[in-house]
Amino acid sequence: MKAELLTRGILSLGLTLLAAGCHRGQTNVAAAFPATGEIRGWSRTSDIRSFEAGDLWKYIDGEAEKYLKAGVLKASTADYKFQNSLEAVVDVYTMSKAEGAAQVFNSEPAADARLVNMGDAARLFRQSLIFRKGPHLVRIVVYEESPEAPEALLSFGHGIEQRLPR
């Protein structure tokens, strides 16, 4: 009898944790992707695509392993243009915990990054911006170097950061 109760208890706890995990995974990250014109100069040029953890390799090949180890639940991505010229891609990785986002963030060399005040931590490069906020890791990459890219990345990053749930 005790064993049966214990089993039920473990099952119940497991289901609760699973539900909580699913809930976090279903966070509406799509809302974090600004529509065209919502942030000055930026327009969205593609639909938002999403990849569950098991399918992440289809998007980022072998790099998926790093995110899986960090507890990734889902990745979402969309293409953008700045002032109709600079092409960019935004990736939002949602982990099960904030520690997972920190793990990936900290695994990447800071190189010549400029530390900026955004989310829980952020690094700005000449062509990219990476920041984390709660369980989310956001990476914005512009495809070409340009003098206006860093400032454009900053304003865009702030816009996304404000739209992200913690």
């Binding site: 390799w57 289809k58 980022i60 090949d61 072998g62 790099e63 998926a64 392993e65 790093k66 293409d79 092409e87 891609v89 990447e108 060399p109 190189a111 010549d112 990054a113 490069f125 000449r126 062509q127 990219s128 990459v141 512009v142 495809y143 070409e144 170097e145």
Partner: protein, 340 residues
């Protein structure tokens, strides 16, 4: 596409061979006449052709300079004096030729479009019909995102992903791998030309010729543990791949030394180069060393110290695989520099 003027190797300055590599002049015919296609070549050549002016003063690759760079690479690899010669040694009219690109990195970091166009042009000049050339990778949408124009049917160069036609039903196996092969490979290609990109790779260490074959199978996600070793070598041993593989031209117009395989501009540089070889193992070895030199220059640990040295390269060269040579003393490395 504009035709490039005929070019000769004299327009390039041959520079000294780096490190322990040997500057040699082995005959090109040894490659094409090899009795067993895909077998390790005794003393393979790897060409690194660089052009500091590949982008001119802009950020896009100049098509004409790319054609010229390709010609120089191929003429050095096959010891030809004219641009069409190497291709005529490589293909025959009636052959169906697959160009396996790498489109995973999006517009900024996929196989260079100008390079692929140049290869198509030279293949057609060698007698291959446009409709017998297929540019392909795993996914059509990825190809489009990388900037390729999708085309299926008609008298034009074909371009689409395996998602359009699917994988063979039967599993093929070698060593540790069991996979279904793209029908593009098995049904549309007599000859495979591999056009990968020079990349750092989080799991495998580096990604170039051999790793690009993960885009040919239905289940590459199964083969990333243990630094993709021995899986990468085993995938390349699958007979349908090995029998068709003739040439690798690695796009090193832009490359990454960290954070790969995705494009992270902060860890990328612009070698403005092509690497060409018949031996994919030798090419991967040489490309690996390029990445290690850049990592050292940037103050990063070696891949070995980072616990991700590309062990699969040695596996591909071992007695069980014999896919090529990874001994720098046996690789003939020829470095070319284009005139400004």
């Amino acid at each position: 596409m504009k035709k490039s003027p005929n070019t000769t190797r004299r327009e390039f300055l041959r520079t000294c061979v780096a490190g322990a590599a040997v500057l040699g002049a082995s005959g090109a015919l040894e490659f094409i006449e090899s009795a067993e296609q895909g077998a390790a070549i005794a003393k393979p050549k790897v060409i690194i052709a660089r052009d500091a002016m590949l982008r001119g003063s802009g950020s896009s690759v100049d098509s004409q300079r790319m054609v010229k760079l390709l010609d120089q690479s191929m003429q050095a690899l096959f010891d030809g004096d004219r641009p069409a010669e190497p291709w005529k040694k490589l293909v025959r009219p009636g052959d169906r030729v697959g160009l396996k690109v790498n489109a995973l990195g999006g517009r900024a970091f996929s196989s260079n479009l100008q390079l692929v166009e140049a290869v198509c042009e030279r293949l057609q000049e060698a007698g291959i019909r446009a409709q017998d050339i297929v540019i392909w990778d795993r996914d059509t949408e990825e190809l489009e995102r990388a900037g390729f124009h999708i085309a299926a049917g008609g008298n034009r160069v074909q371009c689409f992903g395996t998602d359009q036609v699917g994988y063979e039903d039967d599993l093929v196996t070698y060593g540790s791998v069991g996979s279904r092969l793209s029908k593009i490979l098995t049904r549309n290609c007599d000859i495979l030309i591999n056009l990968p990109v020079l990349k750092d790779h989080d799991g495998a260490g580096v990604s170039m010729a051999l790793k690009n074959m993960y885009g040919v199978i239905h289940n590459p996600n199964k083969y990333h543990p243990n630094g993709c070793n021995p899986y990468i070598a085993d995938v390349n041993m699958l007979p349908d791949i090995r029998a068709r593989m003739r040439l690798t031209i690695c796009d090193a117009t832009t490359a990454t030394y960290e954070g790969g395989p995705g494009y992270k501009p902060q860890y990328s540089w612009r070698p403005s180069a092509l690497l060409a070889a018949r031996d994919p193992v030798a090419l991967d070895y040489v490309g690996w060393q390029m990445i290690e030199r850049k990592r050292a220059e940037k103050g990063l640990k070696t891949l070995q110290a980072d616990k991700r040295d590309p062990l699969y390269i040695a596996t591909a060269a071992d007695a069980q695989h014999r896919l090529g040579i990874d001994d720098p003393k046996r690789i003939t490395l020829i470095e070319l520099q284009a005139d400004a």
